[in-house]
C-alpha cells in the first residue's frame, strides 16, 4: 500500500489562507468538479491528480500537497487554469506550491531533477542575462552527479549524440552572447523574494 495513505496526517488549517494571500489565487472556490484532472495531460505520472491537490489545501493537508510529485510533474500547459469553471489559476497554484516547498526545504535537487534543471537555468540567467544552451546543459550534467547517473543508466550517449548532431547543423554555438547591462540583471535577482 502507498505509505502516504497510512502515515499520520498533520492538519494545518492556516495553510489555505496563507496560499491564497501569497499567490493571490482563490483556491477555496474549488467545488471538485475534476475538470482540471480530466484535461490534464500528465496525470499518468502524478501521485495525486490536480483536483486532489486542491482538496488537500481545503482540508488543511499541507504536507500532502507540498510533498507531492504532482507539483513537479505539472508542465504548466495551462489547460486546467483555462478550463476551471471557477477561474482558479491551478497551474499558478502548482508554481506557488513548488516555491513554498522550496522555502520549507522539502525538495532535494539531487533527487528532484526538475528542480535541479530550474536552478541551473536561473543560474545561467544570473551569469549573463541569457541562457546559452551548451553552458546550461554542461552545468546541469555536472550538478548533483547527473552525468555519472546518466552513464550508469546508459543515457549520456544520447545527449552526446544529440549535441554532435546539433553542432553539425550549426545549432550549437560555442560562444555565448550575454546582456551588456549586467548590473540591471543583478538588481532584478537581488529583488527576488
Amino acid at each position: 500500500m502507498d505509505e502516504s495513505l497510512t502515515a499520520p496526517v498533520q492538519i494545518d488549517f492556516d495553510f489555505l489562507p496563507q496560499v491564497e494571500r501569497g499567490s493571490g489565487i482563490q483556491a477555496s472556490v474549488c467545488y471538485q468538479c475534476r475538470k482540471c484532472s480530466n484535461g490534464c495531460p500528465l496525470t499518468f505520472a502524478m501521485d495525486h491528480p490536480p483536483d486532489r491537490i486542491l482538496r488537500f489545501l481545503l482540508l488543511g493537508q499541507a504536507d500532502q500537497a507540498l510533498h507531492s510529485r504532482t507539483i513537479w510533474v505539472c508542465s504548466s500547459c495551462e489547460t486546467c487554469t483555462t478550463r476551471c469553471p471557477n477561474g482558479i489559476d491551478i497551474a499558478g497554484l502548482m508554481d506557488y506550491l513548488k516555491q513554498e516547498a522550496c522555502r520549507r526545504g522539502i525538495p532535494d535537487p539531487s533527487g528532484n531533477r526538475s528542480l535541479a534543471v530550474h536552478q541551473c537555468f536561473l543560474d545561467q540567467i544570473r551569469r549573463r542575462g541569457r541562457v546559452h544552451e551548451g553552458s546550461f546543459m554542461n552545468a546541469y550534467l555536472l550538478s548533483h552527479g547527473v552525468w555519472w547517473r546518466k552513464i550508469l543508466a546508459g543515457t549520456l550517449i544520447h545527449d552526446l549524440r544529440l549535441g554532435w548532431a546539433l553542432w553539425k547543423r550549426g545549432r550549437l554555438p560555442i560562444v555565448p552572447r550575454g546582456v551588456a547591462d549586467q548590473a540591471e540583471i543583478e538588481r532584478l535577482f537581488a529583488a527576488k523574494d
Partner: protein, 284 residues
C-alpha cells in the same frame, strides 16, 4: 515595408537557429523589417515562474521596457517567451504593479509570430507571392500550449481550437488535416529532466497524426519542434514504432511555397530529414 521589434529569445540564438534563419528569410520575402531588440534578456522561462514569481515578472518586464522605449510593436516567435511577456505585461499594468521593479505602460503590442503572419494583411502578401502549391503535403497543425493558453493572458480568441495556422497553410496549397491534439502538451522543458514524460506525450501525438493520415506535422514553437523532432528515433526505438514524420516550422513552408528554397539548398537542419517526403510529393 512594415517595421517591428523582434525578440528572438535564447533558443533562437542556439538550438533553434534554423527557425531564426527561416524567420529572417520569410520576413524579407514579405517586406517585414525585423529590428532585434537591443540588449534583450532571457524571459525567465519555466524556471523563473516555477521558483520565483517576482523574478519571472521582472525579467520579462525588463525586456518589455526595452521594447516600449524602442517604440514599435514586438514580434515574438517563441511560444514560452510570448506567454511570459504577456503575463508580465498584465501584471505590470494591473493593480499590483508596485510589487515589481520594472515598468511597462502598454504603449506597444506584443504579437506571437504565427498570429502576426496569419493576419489578413500578411495573409494577402503570402497569397499574392505564392509560386508553388504545397500539394501532396498533408500536415496537421500543432499549436502547442503557450500561444493560446490561458486566454486571459494571451488574448487568444480560439484557444481550444485555433485555426490560424490551418488557414495559412491552406493558402500555401497544403492539404491541411484536422485533428484533436492541436493544443495538447508536448512536455516542453521536461525533455531535460524527465524525457520519459515527453516521450509518452509525443508518441501519443505521432499516433494520432498518423491515424488522421498526416505525412508531416507543422509547428510554430521551437520547443514543440525540438520535442517532436530530436527524439523521433529514440521514441521509435522505445515504443517499437516506425514513425517518419518531418516536423516543419510554418515559416519553412512559407519559404517553400514562395519559391524561395533554392535548388540544392536542403531543408536538412532538423534531425528528421524531410527530403524523402518532399521528393515524394515533388517539392524537392
Amino acid at each position: 515595408m512594415t517595421e517591428v521589434s523582434f525578440y528572438p529569445g535564447c533558443s533562437l540564438d542556439g538550438t533553434a537557429k534554423d527557425y531564426r534563419d527561416s524567420i529572417e528569410r520569410v520576413a524579407d520575402l514579405l517586406d517585414l523589417q525585423l529590428q532585434e531588440l537591443e540588449d534583450w534578456n532571457c524571459c525567465g522561462a519555466t524556471a523563473a515562474h516555477s521558483l520565483d514569481e517576482r523574478l519571472a515578472v521582472n525579467l520579462a518586464g525588463r525586456t518589455l521596457a526595452l521594447a516600449e522605449t524602442a517604440g514599435k510593436d514586438l514580434l515574438v516567435p517563441c511560444a514560452l517567451c510570448f506567454n511570459r511577456l504577456k503575463t508580465a505585461a498584465k501584471k505590470l499594468q494591473g493593480d499590483q504593479e508596485q510589487l515589481y521593479e520594472t515598468r511597462f505602460d502598454g504603449k506597444i503590442q506584443i504579437f506571437d509570430l504565427l498570429d502576426y503572419l496569419s493576419r489578413p494583411f500578411m495573409l494577402k502578401r503570402v497569397r499574392d507571392r505564392r509560386r508553388v502549391a504545397l500539394s501532396g503535403l498533408r500536415p496537421v497543425c500543432y499549436y502547442g500550449c503557450m500561444v493560446n493558453r490561458p486566454p486571459k493572458i494571451t488574448d487568444s480568441e480560439q484557444w481550444e481550437n485555433p485555426t490560424n495556422m490551418d488557414r495559412l497553410l491552406t493558402e500555401l496549397g497544403a492539404e491541411v488535416l484536422d485533428w484533436p491534439f492541436k493544443t495538447d502538451c508536448c512536455g516542453a522543458s521536461h525533455a531535460i529532466a524527465r524525457p520519459d514524460l515527453v516521450f509518452t506525450l509525443v508518441d501519443k501525438l505521432y499516433r494520432r497524426a498518423l491515424a488522421e493520415g498526416a505525412n508531416c506535422i507543422v509547428v510554430s514553437c521551437q520547443m514543440c519542434q525540438a520535442n517532436l523532432d530530436l527524439y523521433q528515433d529514440q521514441i521509435n526505438r522505445q515504443f517499437q514504432r516506425d514513425v517518419y514524420l518531418p516536423i516543419f516550422y510554418f515559416t519553412e513552408l512559407i519559404e517553400l511555397a514562395l519559391g524561395a528554397v533554392a535548388p540544392g539548398r536542403k531543408l536538412d537542419r532538423h534531425l528528421v530529414d524531410p527530403t524523402a517526403l518532399l521528393s515524394a510529393v515533388g517539392l524537392a
